[in-house]
Point group: C2
């Protein structure tokens, strides 16, 4: 082989192989959630663990380190250089931690999560405590090891796995600002909405009709069914591979907005995946940029667009067609249903306005926890205080709807929560940029013309994948770095418009 | 690790790893047929090819040869020794052929099969010819290489991949005998049946109702839905893993016996898989014994049981319940429909009586073809002559329903066809043995008590897996080696009973 970039070429081959094997792992993962019968679980877990170990071995082969160094000196194009940067990042993630620590982390998180599945419904904080202590101990060790290599604080080092380049200093500033006006806004909105009449849709809503409605809306949103599917799983997600995106939702026959809005959310993830650049598919540079950027796509679809009054006007006749006409399907009423704000204990059930409160609370606990400033035993009191402060709710003694409600901590995912609210902020920032590029965007949406929206996202986000750092991507897309003012303006415009204030 | 069997232990680890990775490959394979959207095809093919290459690398790691030798001298139990024998067999299959030949075979078969998919409907034998010549040339090379290593004739060496221990000398004797009486029996049965009135069921038959009927019959047949599923694919098969068996069928709304009997057939494969021994799961000794033994399970279910008058008496009310009563669903009429004999051009559409004629014809062509006694160009004339002789049909010029009808030759599967009829013979032999063990078996079946049947198969076939050679398995199960007289007796008893002769 005659090439001036032998090391770079060898790396692309290695990463392509990883990508192909990861494909099988992704499909098996989706299958586990969407199809697998109960007795298949043990063998599947063993098969996927074997594959994880294999992928880890292939990601830590000794020659990769040398090839990464040698490739730096090779004559690479700019996209190749970006790919090399992302290869190094991926390599660092795989090689940062000693094998023994990786195995111990797998063990304690799997033990903690497994027990949590029964401890949570039993409200058994005392039983959960020793397991969670072990998980936090291991997370701190991981954070310490990563911190030394990356020159970051311990929490930043963990967060960097999900949100490269993001730092607690930024989060502190952004969430600190949010924290000042959010409780007041929630109070105002709830007060205003308490004077609005809202009709509840009358069920039952046949699951088949829900599925057809979801698929119809996915088509409206540009999802390519020749390169993906919609199935059912207990916890909706978007998996698979870019050429074959596997989305899931779940249906209840007593209500339909959950499956519909959940599907719209996952369709945002799905279109990002389906539209990642083809030229370097399978290479790290063509991967999605980060968890927050991914979430900015699902929230652009679900919140910015899905609860947009103009779009709801397009949705309303489809809903009536699916289930038969009823007064609650009037577009104004449907919009009121979709924008209803209510303080609640559970993050995943939260509306767009109260959601950030749940995230701020978790961030304000997990950051000092990882840094060693507080201990696991301190969590309940902090949780209670912050819930009272942010959402005016009493959570004392209610662990199952309190600090035990999320799978993240039992499974060792520290540093992930901020991505949800960063995603909401980026989504608002994209829509602000779109409105500058297409001043009649809202009228176009109301008229059912979604092309300006999709074209903008395709050009500025989807096809850019990991070509740039997140900060650079955000600046190129919107002309400025992360600016939470757009999110604030969005919430005020939608939930507390001047006329109503 | 303190062990007296270090090499054997290392081998079990290596084979367990292969088994686990193969699990992902099996699920991906099933998914490709049952779920995958069209644009997923290319990436999936690349991912599965990567995995095949990986599995081949792991199966040919140099230390395996030494470990296999060293393990022979270790103090192994009898089951371990049987496992070692099967490990060596699996190893030999993976290591027998030079890498370059394996790659060339993959290339020419994939080219031939791909072109065949459009050439067959176009009846384009001339276009198919050069591709098939290449496939046969490679198959002969493979046969030559395997022949030298195994000390077998070339055809025997190919057949040994699917049916270990089976030899052309046995097939010649068995098929030679069959050939003498089969055309006469076919003539007699068709003549007798021409005087019978048969009512045709009136469709359409809703696909949902067919699916529910199939699942109900699978339950009746003991399929464990906690460890498997029924889905849809263009070509029905039984895949997955023992803990999670993935069966498929296909539905047409103008008839239902195809999906029902196809499902019963695959359920036979499925129960074999679900009941392989658990102790050494993942080890070669717990794999199914051979293709013919596997087919003996599907044909025990579909033909021996499924078309048994007593069982049809149990089936008839379920059919009426599924689609609403009609005269054609009378048990006697349903049984006549299921045992209708008709000469036809297509093997996969053939009934139990004419099917062996299709297999004999193919065997009589592919054996001399592999041995170099005839050439690809000779096939059409031989096909025409044998079809006239065995089934009194004129196939001249009709290549698409003649030698181009099966995927086996285009994809290089020489030595496979005999397994179908060997399976039918073994199935008849099992039922003869069952009737000796349970003299009132037929009455029990008619009464809906299938336990004696399943208990016998579980004890003698399913749980034995690859513990013994096929010949030993057959002797232990039925007290004698392969004896085609049972198949002859079965066909005569069902299709030309003394009263009717």
């Amino acid at each position: 082989m005659d090439t001036t970039t032998p090391s770079y070429d060898a790396l692309t081959q290695a990463f392509l192989r990883l990508h192909r094997l990861q494909h099988l792992q992704s499909i098996a993962q989706w299958d586990s959630a969407a199809n697998m019968p109960p007795r298949g679980n043990e063998a599947r877990a063993a098969a996927m663990a074997e594959m994880s170990a294999l992928l880890h071995r292939l990601s830590t082969e000794p020659q990769l380190a040398r090839q990464l160094d040698d490739a730096e000196a090779e004559p690479l194009s700019e996209p190749q250089r970006a790919n090399l940067r992302e290869m190094r990042r991926a390599w660092r993630q795989s090689n940062a931690l000693p094998e023994a620590l990786v195995q111990r982390a797998a063990l304690v998180t799997s033990r903690c999560e497994h027990a949590w599945r029964t401890q949570r419904p039993a409200n058994d904080w005392a039983g959960h405590l020793p397991n969670l202590r072990e998980v936090v101990a291991v997370a701190r060790e991981e954070a310490q090891a990563l911190s030394q290599q990356l020159g970051l604080s311990r929490y930043d080092a963990l967060m960097d796995r999900f949100e490269p380049g993001m730092r607690a200093a930024t989060i502190d500033a952004v969430f600190g600002e949010l924290r000042r006006w959010l409780p007041g806004l929630i109070r105002d909105v709830i007060d205003r909405q308490s004077r609005e009449a809202v009709l509840q849709p009358q069920g039952p809503f046949a699951v088949d009709a829900q599925r057809r409605l979801c698929e119809r809306v996915m088509r409206l949103l540009g999802f390519d069914f020749d390169a993906g599917r919609l199935d059912v799983s207990a916890h909706p997600f978007c998996g698979g591979v870019p050429e074959d995106v596997r989305m899931t939702t779940r249906y209840r026959d007593d209500e339909f907005l959950g499956s519909l809005m959940g599907t719209i959310h996952e369709t945002g993830h799905g279109r990002y995946e389906q539209n990642r650049p083809r030229e370097l598919l399978g290479q790290p540079v063509s991967e999605s940029r980060s968890m927050a950027i991914h979430e900015s796509q699902s929230l652009s679809f679900e919140m910015q667009l899905g609860s947009h009054r103009g779009f709801v006007g397009r949705l309303a006749p489809l809903v009536a067609e699916a289930f038969g006409a009823q007064p609650a399907f009037d577009a104004d009423n449907l919009h009121r249903l979709l924008t209803r704000v209510k303080r609640g204990l559970i993050r995943v059930d939260a509306d767009e306005v109260t959601y950030p409160a749940h995230v701020i609370l978790r961030y304000e606990i997990e950051r000092p926890l990882v840094e060693g400033e507080i201990e696991v035993d301190d969590i309940p009191a902090l949780w209670d205080a912050k819930m009272a402060e942010l959402l005016e709710l009493d959570t004392r003694g209610n662990f199952k709807d309190g600090p035990m409600q999320d799978v993240h901590w039992p499974s060792g995912l520290f540093g992930y929560f901020p991505c949800y609210s960063l995603g909401a902020m980026y989504a608002a920032q994209w829509f602000a940029a779109m409105r500058r590029a297409t001043p009649d965007l809202d009228a176009r949406i109301a008229a059912g013309d979604l092309a300006p929206l999709f074209d903008w996202l395709r050009e500025h986000i989807w096809t850019q994948a990991s070509r740039w750092s997140t900060d650079e991507l955000v600046r190129r897309a919107s002309g400025e770095p992360l600016n939470p003012a757009h999110f604030a303006a969005h919430l005020r415009a939608r939930y507390a418009p001047p006329a109503a204030r």
